[in-house]
Symmetry: C2
Subunit: 207 residues, 2 copies
């Protein structure tokens, strides 16, 4: 048991240690770092997280984090609104956006089905996706969920839920990453990349 020379320090360390991946030693290092900074800087950190938690809203259409009722992507006339990419969370939206290869819109589930963690379909934005599909004309839904048991379960659940609609359902391609050596690729990925081989296009592997 560590004993802190100051209750104020102790309570800051306790709070910082609740952040994901932060232990008590790291939290103490952070607290001491904050003590060395000037007051406006520390207030700016404290207020930024409180303001974010209080004021962030979620896009009514795709459930992505947003500053407006309809996010920048959902309100853009340049995007293909008949194409929806279903992702786990906002980090995946950012990752796909960074590729510059996607022109459709998104649907953020806010997680994947995980009975072990007490996350069922009703904890996720799945009903919102179904209503969205029922309300407008969607041509294709791309499932871009993680390749884990939970991701697969969620894919299967969505597949069953969406089967009644006349929509093309696809998943992102799994294969050998560009730059990866075959010998270091796991068997499942390599196996799939052979089954799902694509016609040769010269120049595609360079960028």
């Amino acid at each position: 048991m560590q004993s802190y020379p100051s209750k104020l320090l102790e309570s800051a360390v306790n709070e910082l240690a609740k952040l994901p991946g932060i232990g008590r030693k790291t939290a103490l290092r952070m607290a001491l770092n904050l003590l060395k900074r000037n007051i406006p800087e520390v207030e700016s950190l404290g207020n930024a997280i409180i303001k974010m938690r209080n004021e962030v809203i979620y896009c009514t259409e795709c459930r992505n984090i947003s500053d407006q009722e309809l996010c920048a992507i959902c309100s853009s006339p340049k995007r293909d609104h008949h194409l929806i990419c279903v992702v786990e969370d906002i980090r995946d939206v950012m990752a796909v956006e960074n590729t510059g290869q996607y022109s459709g819109v998104y649907h953020v589930l806010g997680g994947v089905i995980s009975p072990m963690d007490g996350i069922g379909p009703q904890e996720l934005h799945i009903e919102a996706l179904i209503s969205r599909v029922a309300a407008s004309h969607i041509g294709e839904i791309i499932l871009a969920l993680p390749t884990t048991i939970e991701g697969d379960t969620t894919n299967f659940y969505l597949f069953r839920k969406l089967a009644g609609f006349n929509i093309k359902l696809t998943t992102i391609a799994r294969g050998v990453s560009i730059g990866d050596e075959l010998e270091h690729t796991d068997e499942v990925t390599l196996g799939r990349s052979i089954l799902n081989r694509t016609p040769y296009e010269s120049g595609l592997h360079r960028k």
Copy 2:
């Protein structure tokens, strides 16, 4: 360049990423975790760090972080006030306190002399130590600074500054850690542990 779907999120990520050892990816993970928590929890984190920065004071005697003008150690009549242990920062005070082997008081320098980082003697609480020594009757000062070039420089600086006073100046023992194998101990430590060998006391190596 990542583009965030919300300015509020972006500003929280920017602030979190200023914490030591936290990159932008980890900061985003933290921000998303905070968004999933309830508002009072997030306010409690934000306010704890602001309150700590605004209200923490430093003990006027030893410069340790404290809630009162005189810290719990400096105000305790049970401590030996003629014995001062000089340390770099509050974490070292906590480490020494945890041993339960020390009954003296401390002096927290707030760092070590490091010209590379622009830290000279005047940035540290060295003058406060000299005044303390001049004002009261101190019998011994234990230097417990890190064994780095900066720590050694600071030790030497303090040695020169304190030479005029009639005070016993010691450093903590360096040697082979309890439980360590000799073959894995570096030569300098092992060499010192032979030079500074101590009389055999049975039972000391167990605990």
